[in-house]
Structure formats: structure tokens, C-alpha cells
């Protein structure tokens, strides 16, 4: 009962937050008409919220059977799938790196600087590079396509927070716990699976949340950058081009991207609940 009440309260807070954002937006618009603000608040620069909502039902281009909403939902789902793929690759690679770095101290000294340096490469420089290299890859009948490039970029962003978080987590067990395991003559593998993994969960889960967000951002940015067809990033660019006559349309696509990020976060939260079901409550992330 109490949980239900808390859940309802949570939903109300979330809705209240949305409502406040809408009110703020309209307030700024209204203020712009009364006093001079350092930004453009005309309908073309800041369309009314109801114009944006009204725009979702319209056909994407005249005569087409798909509405803007359908196009945005389809594109978001497509991008989410790519982001998910990137997330899974990123998590796998990140976890593997963390295990290797934890097991061999020289690897941590040698690899960690590269892991950190990898994230300083600007994404917009990386995206065309990967597409350029990827276009020349074909292994047997499998021809690289730009979708893989986008997934690669998503994975590239996603692996970093995870590998750093997981490394921290794998190193979390106390010396006494480790000594106890050693006194049982436990192998390194047994220590890894019975002690280090469970101990790393409180670090792993928040790292996964960051990774999921990074994968979504990486997907959208890489789509915009390389122009991959079918995803929400491309749709944002295409709708932005129509902003001269239909300024509200691009916001629908942006909302699609936001919803995509929220769904990704929800998936990780579900994973969190599952993974930490046996942990004592206070250590939950």
C-alpha cells in the first residue's frame, strides 16, 4: 500500500515537472512580448506548446499516410535499437577491460590512460573517420554499413563509464574479505565470481546508467553526423531544415529523442532492480 502511494506520488512529481517546464516556456514567450529579452521569443523561434502537440497528428509531408508522430516513433525505435546494440557491446567490452585491468596491475597502469584518452577524441571528428574506414570493410558476404558505424560510436561512448566504474567495483572488496577467500584457497576465478562481482554491483549499476545515456547520445549525434537513414538524429536534421515554415515540427523529433533516452534509462533501472534484488537495501545504488 505504501509502495503504491509512493509510486503515485512519483508519477505526480514527474507530471508536475513537465507542467512546470511547459509553464516556464510559455511564461518566457509571454514575457518576450511585454519586455525586451536577450532572445527571440516569436512564434517562429519558440512555438507554442500546443502548436507542437498539434503538429504530431499531421501527415509528415502532404499526401503521405504516415503522421509526424508515427515517423518520430518509428525513428526513435530504430535509434533505440542501435543504441541498445551499442550499449551491449560497450558494456561487454568495458566489463572485459575492467576484469583484465583488475587482474593484472600492469594492465591497469598501461591501459587506463588509453581508456581515458579515448574519451577526449571529439565525436564529430571520430564519426566520419569510422564511417570512412567502415565503408571499406567487408568480411565475406557481410558488408559494413553505416548503421554499424553508428553502433560502434555508441559503444565507444558507452564502454568508458562502465570500465571505470566496474574497475572501481571489482577493487571494492575489503582486505579481510579477500584474505578470507584466500584462506579457503579460492582460485582467482572463484574470487572474481563469488566476491568481486557481487561487491561491484553498487558501482556497476550507476555506471550502466551513465553508459546507457552515453549510448543514446552517441547514437543521435552519430546519426546527425553521418546522416544515417531511419533514425531520430537524421529526422531532427530533416525537420530542422523545415523550421523556416514549420518551426514546431523539429520539436516533435526532439521530444522523440528525449523519450528514447527515458526508455533507455527505464531499461537500466529494470536491470538494476533485478541485479540488486538480493543485496541489502542500504547498499543499493
Amino acid at each position: 500500500m505504501r509502495r503504491l502511494k509512493r509510486g503515485a506520488l512519483g508519477v505526480m512529481w514527474a507530471l508536475g515537472g513537465v507542467l512546470i517546464s511547459v509553464l516556464m516556456w510559455e511564461l518566457v514567450k509571454w514575457l518576450g512580448g511585454v519586455i525586451s529579452l536577450p532572445m527571440n521569443t516569436s512564434d517562429s523561434a519558440m512555438p507554442h506548446v500546443w502548436t507542437m502537440i498539434g503538429g504530431v497528428g499531421q501527415p509528415e509531408v502532404r499526401g503521405s499516410e504516415t503522421t509526424v508522430l508515427e515517423a518520430v516513433v518509428a525513428a526513435s525505435a530504430y535509434s533505440l535499437l542501435i543504441a541498445l546494440g551499442g550499449f551491449i557491446i560497450g558494456v561487454s567490452v568495458g566489463l572485459l577491460l575492467a576484469i583484465v585491468m583488475q587482474r593484472f596491475a600492469f594492465m591497469e597502469r598501461g591501459l587506463l590512460p588509453f581508456v581515458i584518452a579515448s574519451q577526449t577524441v571529439p565525436l564529430i571528428a571520430l564519426a566520419p573517420l569510422i564511417t570512412g574506414i567502415g565503408n571499406r570493410i567487408s568480411v565475406g558476404p557481410v558488408q559494413w554499413n553505416t548503421t554499424y558505424s553508428v553502433m560502434f560510436i555508441a559503444a565507444y561512448l558507452a564502454f568508458f563509464p562502465l570500465s571505470v566504474g566496474a574497475l572501481r567495483g571489482l577493487q571494492a572488496p575489503t582486505a579481510t574479505a579477500l584474505e578470507l577467500m584466500r584462506s579457503y584457497a579460492a582460485t582467482e576465478r572463484a574470487i572474481l565470481f563469488k566476491l568481486r562481482f557481487p561487491a561491484s554491483l553498487p558501482y556497476l549499476v550507476p555506471a550502466m546508467k551513465v553508459s546507457a545515456a552515453a549510448a543514446v547520445v552517441g547514437t543521435v549525434v552519430a546519426e546527425i553526423s553521418t546522416g544515417v537513414k531511419g533514425g531520430i538524429g537524421r529526422l531532427i536534421v530533416e525537420y530542422a531544415r523545415e523550421a523556416t515554415a514549420q518551426p514546431a515540427k523539429v520539436y516533435v523529433a526532439v521530444f522523440g529523442a528525449i523519450c528514447m533516452g527515458l526508455i533507455a534509462a527505464a531499461i537500466v533501472t529494470a536491470l538494476d532492480v533485478y541485479l540488486t534484488r538480493n543485496l541489502p537495501k542500504e547498499s543499493r545504488a
Binding site: N40, V61, R62, Y78, G85, R136, T146, G227, Q246
Partner: protein
């Protein structure tokens, strides 16, 4: 203990399998959607290998020719941007089976915000690329060995659009005004025109960075905005004038056309790899590619509406009237081609090089620092293509070309 450990391994493997499944589902869905997006075109090309069964969309003559091909040469073309009528000729050549008739299986790679076609070409990511001449020459100077094999657009499509009450009809009127430009190498015609009009770009004119939509012009934030005849200018005419409640009309605006200012620079051209042109097979493919592409442009000249529809069928999100407007304006940039379609005019090339070499932007940089080598362009392929197309009974100069009338609707719909 070991049992538990093993079951954990099992769980891990399970997770990996699920991951792999999700991945493969993801990649297969992506390929399938890509295939379906390109279906009208690629089905025609693919069918050629297995005779002509499925190539209903290809012209009868070309499918007969396709049968004569032992096999199709796979080549790829990198565009500067998403599919739109600016690239109508290539999509028409693919859809109408001109590539297939020339024994080519062409993959058209769409561009994106950060895709630089001439770099993709130089790195071997594509066999051919579409690029503006000054940008390609700049890349060439930085080491990209590429050659202009067909100069498709014979004139520049860049305009400076302003409201009529600003009285900006020539570059000399830019004085003291806020002039929008896109930067990133798109600004050199503006600088050249300002300099040619005897003004100092740093002192006499306020140059303002411009977004890719035209709101800054309509809101009065800038006095004159850079616009392409085939895109941004149309966007302005598709927007509602809040004072009248109707769409803006051409007479509401003045346009400065950089062709008239004498500073126009060559734009869309087909570029090939200079290194690979030494290879007879690539040379042969280039010849066939240029010829089929130019045939596609001739088709779009005579069938503007159908070409616009082909582009929309290939996944362009532009509205119908905007698409047709773009097709028509692009036709105006190509036709007439007095020397033959795709044949580079040495005089306009010299003007392009001259502006690229001598116009300094605000940072004092020029597009190129030295005269490009003679290998930067060749007219051999376009001339041979013109001869072949003329022999097919096609008019390759478009001397009788008359643009159609396009009425733009709100939002380009």
C-alpha cells in the same frame, strides 16, 4: 561450489547469447529497412544479374543492354547531403536503368553533417563523389588526389536574399548591412563580391554567421541571408508573411545573384580518384558512370516532375512542391550547357580558381594557396559521353531548355 560457479558461467553465456541475438536482430532490421528504402532502385540493379525478370521500371532498351553485360561493375557514389532533387540525375540514372545499361551497379551513399565527400573519395570509401569545385580544390591542395571528371552544374546557385525595403540589389549595397553567411567555405563568393565592389569585408560590412534555416532573415536579425536558389530561397517563399497571412512572394525580396556579380564559383561536379584513373578498369567504369549520370540529368531536364517523384520515392522527406522547385532550379543551374552537359568551361573554371586563390576571408585565409595542377580536371570523359549520348539522339546542350513554372505551397507541401 563448482556447480554454482558453472551455472554462473552459464548465466553469463546466456546474457552474451541474448546480446548477440539482440544485435543480430538489430542489424538485420537495419539492413532490411535500408533495402526497402532503396527498393525501387536496387531491385532493378540486382535483377540485371539474373536477367531482366524484375526490372519493370527500367526502360526496355536498357534492360536489353543489361542482358549484354557479362556482369555489373559495383561502384559507389558519395553525395554531399541527404537524398534530394539536387542529386536528381544520379537517382534517375539508377531508377531508369541507365547505370545498369552501362553495366554498373551503383550504390548511392547519402551525405551527412560531417561527411566530406571528396575526403571519402580520397580515402577510398567511395568510387566517385559529388563536391563543390572550390572545396574539392582545397582538399586537393591538402593531398587528396581527386580529379573533376564532369562539371554538372554550369552556374552557381548561391544568392543573397533580402527584403525589398532594404534596397540591396548588388554587392555594393552590402555596405553597412548585416550580411549572413554559412561559413565553412561557403562564404567566399560573398567575400569576393564585397571585395570586387570596392568594399572592405572587415570594416564596411557586418558579416554574421547564419543558421541553415531562414528565420534570421524573416525575423529581421540580418539584412541579407545566403541562400541556395534550389533550397533556402524556396523556404522563404513557403513561409507565411505574418502581415498579410499569405505566403511571401518573390516581389517581397531582392536577390543578389553571384553569377551576375562575376564571382560565381563552380559547384556540384563529379570527382574521381586521380590515382585510380591510371587503372584501365577504373577508367572504363568512370567513363560509363559519367555517361549514365549525364543521361540521368538529361532525363530530369525533360521529366522534372517524374524525377522529383523518384527522389521522394527514394526517401526524401521534402514536401512535393519544394522537391519540384528544387528539381527545376537545379535544371536551371545545369541547362543550357553550351559546351555539352558535364563539360567544364575553362573560362568559368579560371574564374573559380581566381576567386579561390585571391579572395581572403576575415581570417585572411584563401581557399587555395597555389594554382591547382592540370590534373585537377579533365573534360575527356564528359566529351566522350556527350558524343555517345548525341549518337543516341539525345540533346546534350539543352539549348532549347525552358524551365517549368513551380508553385510553392506552405511548408513546401
Amino acid at each position: 561450489m563448482r556447480h554454482i560457479a558453472r551455472s554462473r558461467w552459464g548465466a553469463l553465456t546466456g546474457v552474451a547469447v541474448v546480446g548477440a541475438l539482440a544485435l543480430s536482430a538489430c542489424s538485420s532490421s537495419s539492413t532490411s529497412s535500408e533495402t526497402s528504402a532503396a527498393a525501387p532502385a536496387s531491385s532493378a540493379a540486382a535483377s540485371a544479374a539474373a536477367s531482366t525478370a524484375a526490372s519493370e521500371s527500367a526502360a526496355p532498351a536498357s534492360s536489353a543492354a543489361a542482358e549484354a553485360c557479362a556482369e555489373l561493375t559495383p561502384v559507389s557514389l558519395q553525395l554531399q547531403w541527404f537524398v534530394q532533387a539536387q542529386f536528381g540525375g544520379y537517382y534517375a540514372a539508377k531508377d531508369k536503368g541507365f547505370y545498369e545499361a552501362n553495366c554498373l551497379d551503383v550504390t548511392i551513399l547519402e551525405g551527412g553533417v560531417d561527411i566530406v565527400p571528396q575526403t571519402v573519395l580520397a580515402q577510398g570509401g567511395a568510387d566517385f563523389a559529388i563536391s563543390w569545385v572550390p572545396k574539392a580544390l582545397a582538399s586537393r591542395e591538402q593531398g587528396a588526389l581527386i580529379t573533376n571528371v564532369a562539371q554538372v552544374f554550369q552556374r552557381s546557385g548561391t544568392l543573397q536574399v533580402s527584403f525589398a525595403d532594404k534596397n540591396i540589389t548588388t554587392a555594393a549595397d552590402f555596405k553597412g548591412k548585416k550580411i549572413g553567411n554559412w561559413g565553412f567555405g561557403n562564404e567566399y563568393e560573398i567575400f569576393a563580391a564585397i571585395t570586387k565592389a570596392g568594399l572592405d569585408p572587415a570594416a564596411d560590412v557586418e558579416l554574421v554567421g547564419q543558421q541553415f534555416d531562414m528565420q534570421a532573415l524573416l525575423n529581421g536579425e540580418i539584412d541579407a541571408a545566403e541562400a541556395m536558389t534550389y533550397n533556402e530561397y524556396a523556404q522563404v517563399l513557403e513561409a507565411k508573411n505574418p502581415d498579410t497571412g499569405e505566403l511571401y512572394k518573390p516581389e517581397d525580396f531582392n536577390v543578389v545573384n553571384y553569377n551576375d556579380e562575376g564571382v560565381a564559383m563552380y559547384q556540384d561536379a563529379i570527382w574521381a580518384s586521380e590515382e585510380r584513373l591510371a587503372d584501365p578498369a577504373y577508367q572504363d567504369a568512370t567513363q560509363r558512370f559519367v555517361q549514365a549520370s549525364l543521361e540521368g540529368w538529361i532525363y530530369c531536364r525533360d521529366n522534372a516532375q517524374e524525377c522529383a517523384d523518384i527522389i521522394t520515392a527514394n526517401g526524401s522527406k521534402l514536401g512535393a512542391s519544394h522537391q519540384l522547385w528544387m528539381m527545376n532550379e537545379v535544371n536551371k543551374l545545369i541547362w543550357p550547357s553550351p559546351l555539352g552537359v558535364g563539360v567544364l568551361d575553362p573560362a568559368l573554371y579560371a574564374q573559380t580558381v581566381n576567386v579561390a586563390l585571391n579572395t581572403k576571408n576575415l581570417e585572411g585565409a584563401t581557399v587555395i594557396t597555389a594554382e591547382p595542377a592540370a590534373e585537377a580536371f579533365t573534360t575527356q570523359f564528359a566529351e566522350a559521353a556527350n558524343a555517345a549520348l548525341t549518337a543516341q539522339g539525345l540533346n546534350t546542350t539543352g539549348d532549347a531548355f525552358a524551365p517549368i513554372e513551380v508553385t510553392l505551397n506552405e511548408g513546401g507541401n
